[in-house]
Symmetry: C2
Amino acid sequence: MAAFNEQYPPDFPDERGLALISDIVDWQINHGSLLKHIDPETDFPDDPSQCYPVGVTVFPTLFPREQFNRACELQTIYNELYCAMAEDEHWIFQAIRDLIPVDPLAAALWGIHEEVKKVGYAQKVSVGIFRSDYMLDAPEMEFPLRPGDTFDGALKQVELNTFSCAGATHANRAAEMHRYFARTNAYDPGVDHSINVSLAALPRNNNITSLSACLAAAHNAYGPKKSSAATDTAVLFVVQPNNFNIADERPLEYALWDRDPPVPTYRVDYPTDFLKYTTLTESRELLFHPPWLGSKCVEISVAYMRAGYEAHEYDAAGKEARLRIELSTAIKCPSLLAHICTFKKVQCALTTPGAVEHFISPEKAALIRSTFVCMYPLDDSEAGACARRLATDPELSRDYILKPSLEGGGHNIFGEDIPDFLASIPESKWAAYILMECIRSPSVSNVLLSSTGLDSGGVISELGIFGTCLWRKGSEGQHCEMLQSSVGGWSFKTKHEDVNEMSVVKGYGCFDTPLLF
Amino acid sequence: MAAFNEQYPPDFPDERGLALISDIVDWQINHGSLLKHIDPETDFPDDPSQCYPVGVTVFPTLFPREQFNRACELQTIYNELYCAMAEDEHWIFQAIRDLIPVDPLAAALWGIHEEVKKVGYAQKVSVGIFRSDYMLDAPEMEFPLRPGDTFDGALKQVELNTFSCAGATHANRAAEMHRYFARTNAYDPGVDHSINVSLAALPRNNNITSLSACLAAAHNAYGPKKSSAATDTAVLFVVQPNNFNIADERPLEYALWDRDPPVPTYRVDYPTDFLKYTTLTESRELLFHPPWLGSKCVEISVAYMRAGYEAHEYDAAGKEARLRIELSTAIKCPSLLAHICTFKKVQCALTTPGAVEHFISPEKAALIRSTFVCMYPLDDSEAGACARRLATDPELSRDYILKPSLEGGGHNIFGEDIPDFLASIPESKWAAYILMECIRSPSVSNVLLSSTGLDSGGVISELGIFGTCLWRKGSEGQHCEMLQSSVGGWSFKTKHEDVNEMSVVKGYGCFDTPLLF
């Protein structure tokens, strides 16, 4: 337990601050806490001069221990809920039917689903790597949150990601990094103060181990190869070409190869290389035979999706590639319907009365509901009418965020900007958006270090909890049979309080470790 | 054992080759196999956009297993020899007396030694991290060396480094990298060939573990703190400012902190910060109290030198800093006299009759001598006269290298260039050089990947063996008492056969792993 009775973080003299920053950068270079700069102009496939540290906080950021533990505890319930949802096609369709005409990604995915249904899905087992993101909500609380304050607020969910969840490795590294500096007394302000960033206040993070263990479990669940053309089974990472975030993905591959026995793991760019180097057998095994495996041909046990979350990826080739994956016997991480559950429309539909209760027990549902903020669709329903009134009024809209049904947070419209934005687009497109109540996080102090430089001041954090699960489609009357479910680990990202967007790539958000109090 | 009966390395089609290179770059980014680009123009202390992969070979390079094992076996004898030499001030002085008037580094170091002697050395224990570099010598062998060939040649020593030996971590990473790609079948050319880069043919490397263990042993040998002003004892890495090679040094710090119990380890820039942040107590304990330790003050148990190997570092401040280190009770890695043993003049003096035998048994001396090539001083001795005749004749000089008595290989003059070079400098400066017989390595094929791009063709490798040792100055009649001596690990660097210089930093040399046959 950290003992606080002084200013946090400590105000180091310049010389000490610069030494710490230099130590941090060196630590990052030595531990793959990096992003790769991709320059499409360069001929050379990987211009070796191009990598730089990912944004991190200089100090760990204060966060209430009780809320951290609560978020972790909720994750197995969220796993149960989303696995059940992912097997309820009818419910999902009701949640997104208005979206299909206005959202190309929704249309593409539902189209592929319909296509697969014609012949039927060939695999009943699915694997999920989910991340539920939370912020602290404490509108009544006096700002800023100081050490020693009792946190009098709630944990509210920002979103639940079911697809291509990023940041697990970076978060793992950031936790190791802040723990390293705590262990080496780099945060110790000296005897005149009594603030102590102790190891006990910095939770461990085991994302790399747990996420790779979950993919390995799925690989084992697939069983031996079925095709005589294949030499072996293997996990396939389906990735975006020219990926800048290889330091987040690759360690999961390395961890799979490092297991005993090793889990063979390969990667392929989506969709072009995927289409070129895979085939479906008659019995729909997915075979992978790229030139870099020589004359080898592997049967894919698990397709781990780290691509295919943006609408532009679903041109004709993208649709064909995704269809091939979904048609195959490979276990998908995640299944197509689980992917669709990541849409904001689905999150919004869950907040309606009875929705959560449709899938899980009332006791569990109540716990889940306590993390919800108000969300509204912008449709013709009663809730929609209310939402329109809120969203078109400059005064009332101040407390809301308008979110498109897209992955990530890069396209949100905030508060007073909402009425003008809605006025600028045809009303027929409003159904692609949901209106969500703002979460008012207490501000704490920290120093952010990113490619844009150093930035001190009030910051706000977002806690993500990784959930991993393996489930089988249920028989009649049962949504799904959970084969394995656990809390993977966490991510903790922090940004300047005046910036709305939590984008690590753009240099706004920084990977962080909660300093629990 | 690798089975070779085909071309090595395999000639991959472009698409496969590019995929492998992309995989290598990603592996390097994820494992700290990087160099930091230091731009002195930048204000920001560590421009975060600046790091890039260190040069590595795409494939491991063929090397005879017998010679690799032989080099490892020789290292404990080399440890014994150099520890004994380092305690024989008289012998060292005879070896370098001609150098002092013409070589500023030798003059500076000897001057500091004389200064310390006035009050006496305060520490009898020293620690050494040495690296003995070898090349294969096979002048009669038909080139290139092909898999399946029996190696009919000898292992010859290029030099023995006693000071600031670099490359241990990079070599460790390169070994892990090539083993990773072997394990994941990335080198497997398919069923049409039978070349197999098996794990059994790629030796493991434990440099990081063994070098940090050796520093930890020295730290323990120092014992508890003596000064009441200090809170603790700690290892101090004395480093060059604006260091591009932090990925080689830092992992040793991390490994020391990671030990159980942790060995506190700090670093300081030499000489300015060192002078600012250290003091000697009356009883000559070395105290370290930089602003980044707050009000903490540590007593230095071990000063690990990764700076102070270049003449320009010995201005007034540099001399004062080194003097403070040498005066102190800290265990030096290495001692000043051990540092001087790295001079080429000392290496040359060892080749004279009776020199090696002065320190070790005739049996051991014979093994050591078998690794020597002919070396000559350019002085007034009989050997010197011979050397002058060889070095000034364009025909005869072809088989020789002229080496200044400096650390590293960046200032050598090769073969036919020697006569003109010697003619261009005053004869009084010739004593700063030694003439060394060329080592004629058999050429093998590989592909080099560095910041300058890709380069395929004939390559030549240099094998370095790390030796770690801890010794106490002997009493009368005994040079030294060895407390601990072991083979640390190895480094293996490979360059294009047409390039004389083995400089990884300039992009000529690449870290590599021997593929033993």
